[in-house]
Symmetry: C2
Subunit: 328 residues, 2 copies
């Protein structure tokens, strides 16, 4: 159980160094921080909570967990066109969690902070009789007129997605079925994709003023495309054969065609799905290519009732067993 | 266990109404919200997490809990001179929590929102195998030069505190010793003070530009005064006889003098302790009086090593058994 003394000690030793250079964070000696936002930008905020046993495995290495926690949360900001600036961390720790775990976790945060050029601005450290619980409030900045919302997809827009999809959910499926060790030996690419979401920081500014709507794929392609449809009051038609898969994924599907079902409905890809006019979509695609990120055109925004249709090569509708996120 | 479907349903039914009118929150249909901050102000943020069994009793009525959660968090903003604007709620619910609990909790949030003129801007709703866990990220605005920090107490400042102190920790002590029902029958004033922190919204603007440092008393008067001393690199001398107690508390102390020990070290008062020059302190005191809030002068900022001395009427140092916050 963490009493106040060890709370302050944990903050001083592990978290204060993560806030070094954060203007307005007062070295975490105040419970209130000023968000450091550029003039002419507005502050945008996103909250994500990960609970042990629900959103991650209790034996996940803490540094991996830290990286995933930050990437998962920042991908919301990035898909809105915002530049991440910093984050607040609320961490609840059960009795058994020792100093080594916290050290490794803080090291993971530090590596990821450096990559993403963000800093820790505050938070809360408590004990819990439950499992480890981690909640991040991430903030960023975007010129107010250029924020990319879910609610403004337009009829006739094309639908695009960054990177490749499906592997993360196959990874999770295999970990649950075979255990981490065997899953890693058999399909390390999929397990790694589950544990390490892509870093898409530089995509944010390419979306600004050009994408009409965007979302990060966390609940699954079908479900998240559905969130855009629901917020924008449109429908989408997505061509299954256009969905970008990695070479390893193609190989795996040849051997186990049933895994195909997972691709559109499994989550944890953390790629960005966006809607744009053909011209803007083309420009975003080309600019992404110059920074090493592939973009695929996968469908269209059509009139309809918040529905996402997945069609095969002949335009025939395909049905999938599950829609989106499944908890453990 | 909450799956994504019921997560969306809980948000739609209980939380979307709480965000009605929140510009930039998109009816909670986006994972990113714009903070609605006035021009010439800066956004300030505070995070507080309450875990069932640690920070509250598992059978606490949910509406009380909601009120306490918001007051506890906003008191950080208020003591920094900020006007609260809105909040994000991360809520993790165990399997047994039913619809009635969530309804009562949301009703409690609504009442408190209306009092404090704040709105819900976003958050995350998850399941947990542990106890209920609630994390609030509250934000507000303050003209940047007028923020009141912990780190700028000055030598020669006087130390002031709003309202009365001690009753909340006596309430908590009695609840733990006697159970909620008997404690309520014997000392309802103390139990109520524990369960319902004061509402000090209008104090924020009275502190701006006049208090040199301020903090809300959550960990206990001694501990929180110590936080100012540590951040400001000063010491304080506090006169025990000046500490403001309610009439009920005076009566109780006559019968049970040992409870005196709890007063400076017990927490949960959520009054505001501040440091100011005598002239500014006098002005704040008078202005607080016009809005029905008593302020007491209780001590001085003196040179020293981050130490808080409590002295009796003869200037003799008094020692207390515990320093600040105790977990359950």
């Amino acid at each position: 159980m963490i009493d106040k003394f060890s709370e302050f000690e944990i903050i001083r030793r592990h978290f204060v160094p993560l806030s070094s250079g954060a203007r307005g964070a007062e070295n975490l000696k105040d419970d209130v921080s000023i968000l450091d936002i550029s003039p002419n930008s507005v502050p945008v905020v996103s909250v994500d909570t990960m609970v042990g046993g629900i959103h991650f495995f209790l034996d996940d290495p803490p540094a991996h967990l830290a990286k995933k926690l930050l990437r998962v949360n920042l991908s919301d900001l990035i898909s809105s066109g915002a530049k991440p600036v910093g984050y607040f961390l609320s961490i609840s720790l059960p009795e058994g969690v020792g100093n080594q775990w916290i050290t490794d976790f803080a090291d993971g945060l530090k590596s990821e902070q450096d990559l993403q050029k963000i800093l820790l601005y505050g938070g809360d450290t408590t004990s819990t009789p439950g499992p480890i619980s981690l909640s991040i409030t991430a903030f960023g900045e975007v010129p107010s007129k250029l924020i990319v919302r879910r609610s403004s997809a337009r009829l006739g827009d094309f639908v695009y997605v960054t990177g490749t999809i499906g592997a993360a959910s196959v990874g999770l499926y295999l970990i649950k079925k075979l255990g981490m060790k065997v899953a890693m030996e058999n399909a390390s690419f999929a397990v790694s994709r589950y544990r390490e979401p892509p870093l898409l920081l530089d995509v944010a500014k390419l979306l600004r003023g050009r994408a009409n709507a965007a979302i990060d794929i966390s609940d699954g392609l079908l479900a998240d495309a559905g969130h855009i449809c629901s917020a924008s009051e449109v429908a989408m038609e997505i061509d299954f054969n256009s969905l970008p898969l990695s070479p390893e994924m193609h190989l795996m599907l040849e051997n186990q065609p049933k895994l195909k079902n997972i691709i559109p409905s499994g989550g944890d890809d953390y790629e960005i799905l966006f809607c744009a006019s053909e011209e803007n979509g083309q420009n975003i695609t080309e600019d992404c290519k110059t920074i090493g990120i592939e973009v695929s055109k996968i469908g269209r925004v059509i009139p309809g009732q918040c529905e996402v249709k997945i069609v095969d090569g002949d335009g025939k509708r395909m049905l999938f067993e599950t829609m989106g996120w499944e908890h453990f």
